[in-house]
């Protein structure tokens, strides 16, 4: 049970500990069936098995990338022989080109694509309203995040699942947020730079850079890929006002799906237009305010009233879209969904900008100053970082 996988067995850097042993196999017409010691049955198609051969002819040793291409064998490829080796590997001798493939049982079990196996691997967001997030806001300290991979992993998993997490006791020197960001990956540059300073300024090209109230929104919905994580580090916040309001867009979308199904359907199927207003850039994107994946899970929210372009859909859909959009905005305004937090200096809040809407109350610079620094990192980087950190845990 402690067989450690090596490259000759698995073309991956992820370890696949053996949790179950194969008991028997059955050779079908298009696929092979394995029953495991927990009673689970897996079906593996021959093309799939041939495609996933881990031998050094099929996988380049240096890069661990596949060299073999599946269209270079007949579609009808079948095993001449299939059996389990003494150390529980599945061994197949193919009827084409005398090729032999071996499959590590830990890898094989964990790549079962039965309905139940696929269901079990499905990630689910932990959605929240005001009450829930006030009890569970994931929080850790700057030093823990910087110094401990284990703390970092826990915090990142929470960030992935709740879409929001706080760091406290952060150094208030400018650009300190880079140190936290780099614990995940490089920063995503935008037309606002890599690090943006949220301060009122005279030549504001975005409402963010004024002292005005900002309604609930996601940042950069004008971009095909909205930035994933948004970091906001508070260096100073002495001015009156300027409180942050955060709302879980997934919660609002789920609420809508339950109570206003027609409006949910409109908002997840009829695209809206988003344009920025700037002398030097003209980003435009057309996409639905709610994005649902193949498993009907809500995976994205896209919304900023002040960055909308004119609605541009067939006339018969126009009013349905307005009705749905108005409902969504009205729901986000309900206090029961709002996490209200005044960012203090030394706090860094990170949230999934494709899920959590954020707003800011107007502030009054006559009463003090306010300086936040922000940056973005994409979801890809967060998920990759979690997987790499998890390799140690699994290995």
């Amino acid at each position: 049970m402690t067989v450690t996988s090596t490259h000759s067995e698995i073309a991956s850097f992820t370890p696949y500990p053996i949790k179950h042993l194969p008991l028997n196999l059955r050779v079908g017409s298009e696929s092979l069936f394995i029953v495991w010691d927990n009673g689970h049955e897996s079906e593996y198609h021959y093309l799939w098995l041939r495609d996933n051969c881990h031998c050094s002819e099929c996988i380049a040793t240096l890069t661990r990338e596949q060299v073999f291409e599946i269209c270079d064998v007949p579609e009808t490829i079948r095993p001449l022989e299939a059996y389990f080796s003494e150390d529980n590997r599945l061994v197949i001798k193919w009827d084409y080109a005398d090729h032999i493939s071996q499959y590590h049982p830990g890898w094989l079990y964990s790549h079962c694509y039965s309905e139940s196996a696929r269901e079990a691997k499905q990630w689910r967001a932990k959605v929240w309203d005001k009450e829930a997030i006030n009890q569970t806001l994931p929080t850790n300290t700057y030093l823990n995040i910087l110094q401990s991979d284990q703390h970092l992993l826990t915090w990142l998993r929470d960030l992935r699942d709740y879409g929001i997490a706080l760091v406290t006791d952060v150094d208030c020197a400018p650009n300190t947020l880079i140190k936290v960001a780099h614990r995940i990956s490089f920063i995503r540059e935008t037309n606002f730079g890599t690090i943006f300073n949220v301060q009122a300024k005279a030549d504001a090209n975005s409402a963010a850079y004024t002292d005005l109230r900002l309604p609930l929104h996601t940042d950069l919905p004008t971009r095909e890929l909205q930035p994933g994580l948004q970091f906001l580090h508070c260096l100073i916040n002495d001015a009156e006002g300027g409180e942050s309001i955060l709302v879980d867009g997934f919660k609002i979308a789920e609420h809508m799906r339950e109570y206003y199904p027609d409006e949910f359907a409109s908002l997840s199927s009829i695209p809206m237009s988003f344009y920025n207003k700037d002398q030097h850039s003209d980003y435009r994107f057309r996409g639905t305010a709610i994005v649902v994946d193949e498993n009907h899970q809500i995976v994205e929210v896209r919304l900023a009233n002040f960055l909308r372009g004119p609605i541009d859909v067939p006339a018969h859909q126009t009013l349905a879209l307005y009705k749905a959009y108005r409902r969504f905005i009205q729901l986000t305004r309900e206090e029961r969904f709002q996490f209200f937090h005044r960012l203090n200096s030394g706090e860094l809040i990170v949230f999934d900008n494709r899920r959590v809407l954020h707003a800011r109350n107007a502030f009054d610079l006559k009463t003090g100053s306010r300086h936040l620094q922000g940056c973005y990192i994409d979801r890809d980087e967060l998920l990759s970082r979690i997987r790499v950190l998890e390799r140690d845990t699994l290995g």
Copy 2:
């Protein structure tokens, strides 16, 4: 006919020259109808019109962003009065909050959302095979691209439409490609850096950094948003082999849709998995190899055999997906679709990495050296840059 729009009329930096004048209007129950001097009839819903009011109460003067929110007026808002002013503006006095809106006729005509107007605005790719691209490959010189906005605009439009364009006479000093890239925007960083050097190296973490043949692929299909433009600048190419092969993935997809409709349907609806193999990153993405938009247009191709993860779809879809994938790869191997080009030093090729598949023959470092530099810029940046350059042409 030469009325120039100002901010008080249009909350946009894009000018909207007046091409047609409104002849008459009709007030319906939910929308207003305008007939223009070319006979075209436009329908504008009242909610849409109220939403698009350009007055300084509704739009912040400094940022040109909307302050007004459509859910703050009744869904049943109607005009008390609607007429054309002497300078052909549509003027509406609303039945709520004594608000008055004015609409510039150039802006209004150009935002008509009738079926024919929407159809006319639809972008269409110019797809190509070997013969077509050998005749039409968009090409311009380094100096023209650097010095002339007009040359740049033409070249960028071609790049958008053909998905490929060449720059010649480029300085062969390292990092020169940055100068060309910055004519569009900032560079997209990835785990391979901002500028990557395509040279064989001992500790390769990608097939790109070996001397091996690379099959036709898009770069970074493991990322949710594949990089849009790929730049490849050839500094030196003296080694034998190493020719570039480029294939218009949209052409292959269209060919498939015409001749193998079932396989096209599979490849555009059943997701594949893409994983990278690396010690320090573990990117994974699940998405269809062909992406089709709401208008059935092919908008993206995602494909790299060496970066695929195990197929992970319901058992009944597995073979259909393999069949379709094999067909696609086989088609890309047909010479009639392949643009074959040996990059010479001083050439910079740019292509849409979400459309054009690229491959490289193996090369032999015993016969000489080979050094390319590459970088990425997203599609958003290309399209934004084109729009900003077009403002001058339209203004």
